[in-house]
Symmetry: D2
Amino acid sequence: MEHDGKGIKVTVIGGGSSYTPELVDGILRRKDTLPVRELWLLDIPEGEKKLSVIAAFAGRMAKKAGSGIRIYPSLDRRAALEGADFVLSQFRVGGLAGRARDEAIPLKYGIIGQETTGPGGYAYALRTLPVIFDICRDIEELSPRAWLINFTNPAGIITEGILNYTGVRAIGLCNGPITTKRAIAALLEVEPQRINAEFVGLNHMSFVRDVTLDGKSIINDLIDLYEKAEGEAREKLKLVSDVLWDPWFIRSLGMLTNFYHRYYFKCRAMLKEQEENYRQNGSRALVVQEIERKLFELYADKSVDEKPAELEQRGGAYYSEAAVALIDAIYNDRNEIHTVNVLNRGTISDLPYNAVIETNALIGAAGASPLVIGKMPEKVAGLIGYVKTYEQLAVKAAVNRSYDDALAAMISNPFVNDYETAKTMMDEFIAAHKPLLDYLAKSPGRIPRRIET
Amino acid sequence: MEHDGKGIKVTVIGGGSSYTPELVDGILRRKDTLPVRELWLLDIPEGEKKLSVIAAFAGRMAKKAGSGIRIYPSLDRRAALEGADFVLSQFRVGGLAGRARDEAIPLKYGIIGQETTGPGGYAYALRTLPVIFDICRDIEELSPRAWLINFTNPAGIITEGILNYTGVRAIGLCNGPITTKRAIAALLEVEPQRINAEFVGLNHMSFVRDVTLDGKSIINDLIDLYEKAEGEAREKLKLVSDVLWDPWFIRSLGMLTNFYHRYYFKCRAMLKEQEENYRQNGSRALVVQEIERKLFELYADKSVDEKPAELEQRGGAYYSEAAVALIDAIYNDRNEIHTVNVLNRGTISDLPYNAVIETNALIGAAGASPLVIGKMPEKVAGLIGYVKTYEQLAVKAAVNRSYDDALAAMISNPFVNDYETAKTMMDEFIAAHKPLLDYLAKSPGRIPRRIET
Amino acid sequence: MEHDGKGIKVTVIGGGSSYTPELVDGILRRKDTLPVRELWLLDIPEGEKKLSVIAAFAGRMAKKAGSGIRIYPSLDRRAALEGADFVLSQFRVGGLAGRARDEAIPLKYGIIGQETTGPGGYAYALRTLPVIFDICRDIEELSPRAWLINFTNPAGIITEGILNYTGVRAIGLCNGPITTKRAIAALLEVEPQRINAEFVGLNHMSFVRDVTLDGKSIINDLIDLYEKAEGEAREKLKLVSDVLWDPWFIRSLGMLTNFYHRYYFKCRAMLKEQEENYRQNGSRALVVQEIERKLFELYADKSVDEKPAELEQRGGAYYSEAAVALIDAIYNDRNEIHTVNVLNRGTISDLPYNAVIETNALIGAAGASPLVIGKMPEKVAGLIGYVKTYEQLAVKAAVNRSYDDALAAMISNPFVNDYETAKTMMDEFIAAHKPLLDYLAKSPGRIPRRIET
Amino acid sequence: MEHDGKGIKVTVIGGGSSYTPELVDGILRRKDTLPVRELWLLDIPEGEKKLSVIAAFAGRMAKKAGSGIRIYPSLDRRAALEGADFVLSQFRVGGLAGRARDEAIPLKYGIIGQETTGPGGYAYALRTLPVIFDICRDIEELSPRAWLINFTNPAGIITEGILNYTGVRAIGLCNGPITTKRAIAALLEVEPQRINAEFVGLNHMSFVRDVTLDGKSIINDLIDLYEKAEGEAREKLKLVSDVLWDPWFIRSLGMLTNFYHRYYFKCRAMLKEQEENYRQNGSRALVVQEIERKLFELYADKSVDEKPAELEQRGGAYYSEAAVALIDAIYNDRNEIHTVNVLNRGTISDLPYNAVIETNALIGAAGASPLVIGKMPEKVAGLIGYVKTYEQLAVKAAVNRSYDDALAAMISNPFVNDYETAKTMMDEFIAAHKPLLDYLAKSPGRIPRRIET
């Protein structure tokens, strides 16, 4: 990108999040190569109090780091976006209370209740898409050259929407791939930069087809570990995919998985675990709320001027690292490999041209150039294609603001195999998230019938 | 095809089936245009007694019809196939006892137990593929110009195997599409030939994208009937897809379904119904066994020389009509539209080129020329693609004779979402169908790891 | 299509053409199955005199045939199109004088000068596309359910434009395929309806991949004739492709060609022949003008009330037959195979989805359902793809009204391999066809640079 | 790749070439990072004398550079290939005498006579493919982990053959792309490493879709220079594509060209120039022979121990740099962008999956990972596709050893538009290159007819 010598304006949408100090820390650590001049922390009025806590804490962190960066807490979206060089999207429409409902409702019907996959993730996407479209209209007008780095979940669907229905330059990002690579490095006790991994698929649905150590393939050695690893190594192996698969499964697959595949391949145990947890603790959202409450107590403590260790319990490890490294790679035209969510354009030859996929790409001043993957591994091609169709239907439902389309996407969600249950959940989500999903309830009587071809 | 003036040799594999009289009836009814000279009824030694009953009955039918057709019951596959013009495959590897196990085992794990779809259908495919490959080797050698009309289920998978791994000219056939068209004609009280329907998808996974009456589209009128039809019309409407969907579902879909979609979209009710039936009557296979026992009593009665009405209870309505009409269209180069299972070759542009699909095709002396469909309707594209991948993995498992591949296909079956349950069922099927699936159990220790791309 | 019992309104654009009596003859011969009520002959003011001759002659023909069809000569496009059931497009923008220029200009530069292919055909397309787009706007408004049967050349490009940039239901038609089939029937001395031929490619760029007699493939026998045929049979063989290829060429190709392949594969001899003819007789257009003059003398003769034999010299044999048979097949939902120009939609899997191709299709009330072709024969795939790209660029130039795009298409024409000559010809065409191509000359200074991807 | 600590064995096929000192120079300059232990210079007996001159000179160069590399001149292919880490293919089947014939024969028929494109390049490919297939059999056996870097021309076709019909790991390389980038850097007077360029297409048929300086797109600025550059800048601009296009052409194209596009877009002037040159100096091959004679005089001079400046006149600038940098990037897992010829696998979504294309790729220990291109720019898509089909037919002709297939490829060459001329040239090449093309002349009488689909 063009460097005008004035430094960079970064805008964080959802700036009052408990994650923000992580991000601030990342920016401060790169201050020698990444001259951030202004950091705008944008939030909504409901979040004003948290925002002021975060902004004050960020100010202390900057001071401690000896940085001249200016922090702007703001409730004014247009001011925050105007002239931004990078926009980071990390907001959560409906908040943790909304998440709690997303997690709880499917469980009532014996279906995985999860923040980003399954019906819960779908409801979250439906709340978020109209908001991100509005934001993108502003970016198109006020900072058309900005790069939007999207972390907002479900990141695959949201980025699918942005890249197909707006003119904004965007890259979707997840901390999953970097976490997996770090876990492999930790397992092998080598420096993280010596490890590379090839991801094939979609956000929260990507498989690791190969892993290299210093450029040499070690995927088979890793697969062997599922049989051989013992003791501490076994614990570390579990961190790679967050599940310790049976060796025969991982061998038959011939690939590593990501953190969400347990909901697809180990559905029964996961459902049982969720039900058990829910009975004991309520939804995961409630647990997170408690962690957040404690974090904000820390943030508000004026003696604290560094990222607290407790932040790591929050989840989202390496979130800041992934985002700031990506910004750095673009700003400084580094041509580094990052794992990102971008338009397919043939990268995976058996997914639609315009689908958003999660893939390794070379990141430089011109954005992301994906590295070609070719055809998907046959054993997972069907599932990946199925999930992608669901995601595209989800986006279309939000674009068309159509109840019927929303229902069609719900029925196409891989966790749902029953149209009556789909409708029941759909109606329940619309009621539970009032008024955020009203745009679907109010969908006109027009009932599309014959499908166009 | 070439007419040598000597008449046609038709060979029925599984000739001792209770269906055969239906087929004989169909052939006899077309005797003026379809000069069948020899009808070979081939079966295995275990079926010899049934075969002799059927052959004798078929002889009486032919005599009654005044036909000179010669009936050859045979246990000699090579003799039966040599020089055949048409080979009809309707055999069932493992018989109804095998089917009973296919239906029962999944139910133990809370999964749909069904003869052609789900894990049950998969086990059936794994038993059948090695046998059909053997038969095809014989056809390649002994009757290379023959047309193989495959009814053996799961017809989609079996035809996928034949057309991709043998050199036999084959067309897969199902009585589903013709039954749906007849049901629509009955519903509208019009002659069946005035109705046409466009099927999109796979065997037991095809949707009706359009229906015409005298060439005019009436799909929207049919969809409206889900709301409006009452009384007897309502009963008739149910026969179209064998399920009376909620109007909102069928409207949102914009298409009609086939008889197996209830297992995908109405899974909970179907599972409950299966469990209930199983508790009361055992599996559907047992019910069919009883029907068959009675049929064979009738067939054995030397005073009976016409197809008995009871045959219709057996299921498989219009089976004979579909098969004999297809043979007639090829033999007489009729260029008629039939719904068949053939290689895709671009017919559905978003399925693999070599996939076997169920589609309308023009049938003439050169075989089947599919009518172009274009892209699949988005709402069902994901599911269809998912099922097709499973089917291709199933065929590959049989071709590779590999336990690992067999497991991968089982995990990819849309009814299975749990790898541990998949393995348990896989092992149980192998044990239950001994020795028919031993070729998988004996699969070498060689464990494929890195997936080739 | 829906039959309202009132009979059919057919509108002929370019009704004053010398071809029209052929068409009237065809309609009258089908009067028992095709109840044409009104035949509107539309033309432009410059053609008024010819139009009145044709209309009067058509009236005498109808009277002689005992038909009650009403003939409406008209200069009022909107009146002629309003409520039409079928619109036949056979007009020629710029007339024969324009054609003469199309044929002469390329010859100046040593390039094939031809009415429909090469730079001449391109100039013709550029004159025609804006006019057909205007007509289509009227059809969209005044007769949205009409079928537009397009004969206007270059039919491939014009139909490409209509089907991709308007909402009109259209089918492109050429007399080439039917002529080839008739020639094969004549060669073999069999009834034409016993012959079928599979055409693969584009209008004026389609190859005959197979020919059947009574459903049996005879392509190899036909290829053998290039070696064996003698005397009269040799003359008849020549009529199949209008060129008697060397046997080794047709064997290596393994297919038959159409009438325009001589300009691609036998370019040197054709150029020489064109140059020689031009020296002696001027362009082909001038020869046709003289034939037309004589035809109109005949048409004006009030004693003539039947299609005169001289019409056959005009070229365009079977034009009427192809068009009227197509209308009949649609109107009466005949489900017959015709060779037509329609959207690809996967019919040829290695051409773009939206490309217009020339292919066999089943024609019925719903229009054309192409029969799947699969991948193109490798030996001609490159050339066909190259021509299709040129055609798409040609349409785009007319849509964008852009001089630069027009130049890009000219450079991409397979007969042009020199960008300077391309520009010289482009400018000469614009000047020669004033004011019909002014829309390109007036293209704004805006120069597109970086090609979008 | 694995580093065994023993250093690298590099084998140069055609080691007696006048280019070799350039290569040796490149290897010596990287000696700190690229530990080449053995350099085998392989040649055929006819080249033994030249080989000994080169080997001796290479030895002096190594000594001067203080390198311990061992030089092995060899006529024993198996010894030279055994255990090689990198194999460089730079041999020329038929030598410069063969090239002279390739250049002269087409000119007799008014067709571009060129070493790598057109009929001349085709004859060269037909001579080379059987030899490279033989070499690859040896590599498969003797050094299966070796990387074959192919420079042998026509590099696109040869690499197409290697990657589709052998199991060798190969990358095709051309000095064109690096030369263009260097010329742009020289034009802008910046360091070469600040320039990047995106190449789209095939070897000798790739277009430059974008150029960046420090990551910022400057393609439009470069296009503007075609109008604005004057004096010395104008001379430097010419070096970018070796032709100074009219500004309107390059603007309409919106891309830069490579050195061979003049034969496609400026064919008339090039043909005239070739004819003129041929009249005056004989073919380019003869000029090169004279340059080579002088070079070998220098190489034989025992006082010379450094690459002589005269080598640059030979053409092939940056050849050594491209090759050695590529080897370095693989050996040291550098993940650098190089422009290489590799399997498409979806990189260009509208070319066949298995086609070899010329593209930017990330080069590391695992070889080449192409950067996704997406659809080709429409204005050149047809031409690129046409050339690729010709290339695939060319390879198939050599694989099938079929005269008919060879003829089909010749007819499909974009410079040939006349089947009779194609055959005349084909036969003349076979006679002129005796016995190298005898394998086509001796092709059996078997004439393939119906094209398989």
